[in-house]
């Protein structure tokens, strides 16, 4: 035969890819439109207000900035990479301390009603306090900026962890605990086989909330304490009146926060369990 005819499989593959491409285009259309609108509004504002650089100059500044993210010209002139890492390190430290204290506390509060009665009014009272209000106390206690910032992160991270863990323990279905009682499981077995897996999704929600708050708070705390970190860098650039860098800092903070949130969301999905 002289006319070439595609095999059905080839046709199917082609239509599969066409379908796939369409799906991706449809999924990207919304976000893409959003970003284009943002750039337009930004450009319009920069044309009106001379002090604010438009998207073009800002991207140029970002390109220069990220050419050498890890330079080190002494403690007051560090690359942007070092500043981001410094902030992340504080968040990690504060969060780990909060988890080490908060998770056992959450389990205990959820399991023992008496402990819940004692602690819940205190938690209700202290939770709405802005974490930055604890910063002076941290400075007083630790006599140094860095531990004070970690202390502030610790305080703001601990509430969601305690509250969600305790809530998870309270929501462990009574049926599962009845199973444990009928089988005479040891307290350790109950914890390992029933409480921990049942509470894990709640706990991961608590962790996600606490790291989200911690990332909000660290920027503000570093503005006050100075030294290193993305918050300090932002404030430093304000003192230098480098508005392009301030805008870049805002994007960096947003991107890092979003990445953390998405990573924890994926982790939460991995450990969630459904009955059906």
């Amino acid at each position: 035969m002289s006319v070439s005819i595609d095999s059905p499989a080839a046709v199917l593959t082609r239509s599969f890819w066409r379908h796939k491409t369409e799906q991706i285009l449809v999924a990207c259309a919304g976000p893409l439109t959003g970003f284009v609108l943002l750039l337009l509004v930004w450009q319009a504002i920069s044309l009106q207000i001379n002090d604010i650089p438009g998207p073009g100059p800002t991207f140029e500044a970002a390109a220069t900035l990220f050419k050498h993210p890890f330079y080190n010209n002494g403690p007051n002139d560090l690359g942007i990479g070092w500043n981001i890492l410094a902030s992340l390190e504080r968040v990690t430290m504060g969060f780990l301390l909060a988890a080490a204290v908060g998770i056992p506390m959450g389990f205990a509060i959820g399991r023992y009603a008496a402990l819940n009665a004692i602690t819940s009014p205190l938690i209700s009272l202290l939770r709405p306090v802005s974490p930055l209000a604890w910063l002076p106390l941290g400075l007083l206690l630790f006599q140094a900026a860095n531990p004070a910032a970690v202390w502030t992160i610790f305080i703001c991270s601990i509430w969601p962890i305690i509250i969600n863990t305790a809530d998870g323990v309270k929501h462990v279905p009574q049926d599962y605990l009845n199973v444990a009682r009928v089988l005479n499981l040891s307290e350790w077995k109950v914890f390992r086989r029933i409480l921990l897996p049942a509470v894990l999704p709640y706990l991961l929600t608590g962790i996600r909330l606490s790291i989200g708050t911690a990332w909000l708070v660290i920027v503000a705390a570093e503005m006050l304490t100075g030294g290193t970190g993305i918050g300090f860098w932002l404030w430093d650039e304000w003192n230098n009146l480098n508005v392009a860098h301030i805008l870049i800092a805002i994007f960096i903070i947003g991107i890092v926060g979003l990445t953390l949130d998405l990573a924890l969301l994926a982790l939460g999905r991995r450990y969630s369990h459904s009955e059906n």
């Binding site: 279905p173 049926d175 599962y176 009845n178 199973v179 009682r181 009928v182 089988l183 005479n184 499981l185 077995k189 086989r193 029933i194 897996p197 049942a198 369990h273 459904s274 009955e275 059906n276």
Partner: protein
């Protein structure tokens, strides 16, 4: 036959914000070894409460419960429970759900490979050897309930307690599991107490049917002997006069003498009751 489970003058009162609520009153019942007992009654009559008392999950306000001569002071593996909603742990496979139970009872006296053998044997008993590595969400409702039964039987309980074990299943699956339960109980000779609201289920499976009056302050209204020969076969019994007579007695108790307090006031003629295909206490 000796008394194996003994319930003496048991009453249960719940205290709520609205005041005291007497759920059960003056319950007296003796259960023999190897006997199959059904507890039947309308919703809210306290049949599950009574089962929880035997399980030891709740403690009676008055009276005592004995099992094998000892007072029931709390839950224990000698009285295994099959829960209404199966209560399998969703993060464990079928194998590990059963193994958790086996391990808790036999790990002090038996090596690990023997524990595994017991687990496999229990799953094979309910015909689920092939599904041992599946998670509960990957199997059907009927299979979940069979795993629940396997978990209960694997620990070789003195008494098997079942709280409406087939209530959530479709009628074909339910019939299938009832037949399997007949085989299992015949093979293991386990003393069984089952809560049900299904008249056919009660008559087919039981040696005696304990009928509870309506709450509050529910008590045993009547105990019906079901002296039908075993092994019993659903199809052969369907039109058997002895079977129909027992069934009629239960229906009469539930729908004439102790009508569902929550049901509409329309009163069907007595003879139409028996012509309904499927009777349950929920649809009076």
């Amino acid at each position: 036959m000796e008394k194996f489970v003994s319930i003496e003058y048991v009453g249960q009162t719940f205290t709520s914000r609205k005041g005291a609520f007497v759920a059960l009153q003056d319950i007296n019942l003796s259960i023999h070894q190897g006997e199959f007992i059904s507890l039947i009654g309308h919703s809210g009559c306290g049949k599950s409460t009574l089962l929880n008392l035997i399980a030891g999950i709740t403690r009676p306000t008055v009276g005592v419960l004995l099992c094998a001569g000892k007072e029931i002071s709390g839950p224990g593996p000698d009285r295994a429970v099959v829960f209404q909603n199966h209560s399998l742990l969703p993060w464990l496979t079928c194998f590990h759900n059963v193994y958790l139970a086996v391990e808790s009872v036999f790990s002090a006296t038996e090596p690990v490979n023997q524990l595994k053998e017991r687990t496999i044997a229990a799953l094979n008993l309910v015909g689920l050897g092939h599904a041992e590595q599946k998670f509960p969400k990957e199997i059907s409702g009927g299979m979940k309930q069979r795993v629940g039964i396997a978990r209960a039987l694997a620990i070789e309980p003195k008494v098997l307690l079942m709280d409406e074990p087939f209530g959530a299943l479709d009628s074909l699956t339910r019939a299938h599991l009832q037949d399997e339960l007949l085989h299992i109980v015949a093979a293991t000779r386990t003393t069984t107490v089952m809560v049900t609201h299904d008249v056919d289920e009660a008559v087919l499976l039981s040696d005696r049917i304990v009928m509870l009056s309506n709450g509050p302050a529910a008590t045993i209204g009547e105990i019906l002997e079901v002296p039908l020969a075993r092994p019993r076969h659903r199809v052969a019994l369907a039109n058997h006069p002895d079977y129909l007579a027992r069934r009629a007695a239960v229906v009469n108790f539930l729908h004439q003498r102790h009508r569902n307090p929550n049901a509409a006031t329309v009163n069907p003629p007595a003879d139409t009751d028996l012509t309904l295909d499927h009777l349950s206490t929920e649809d009076a």
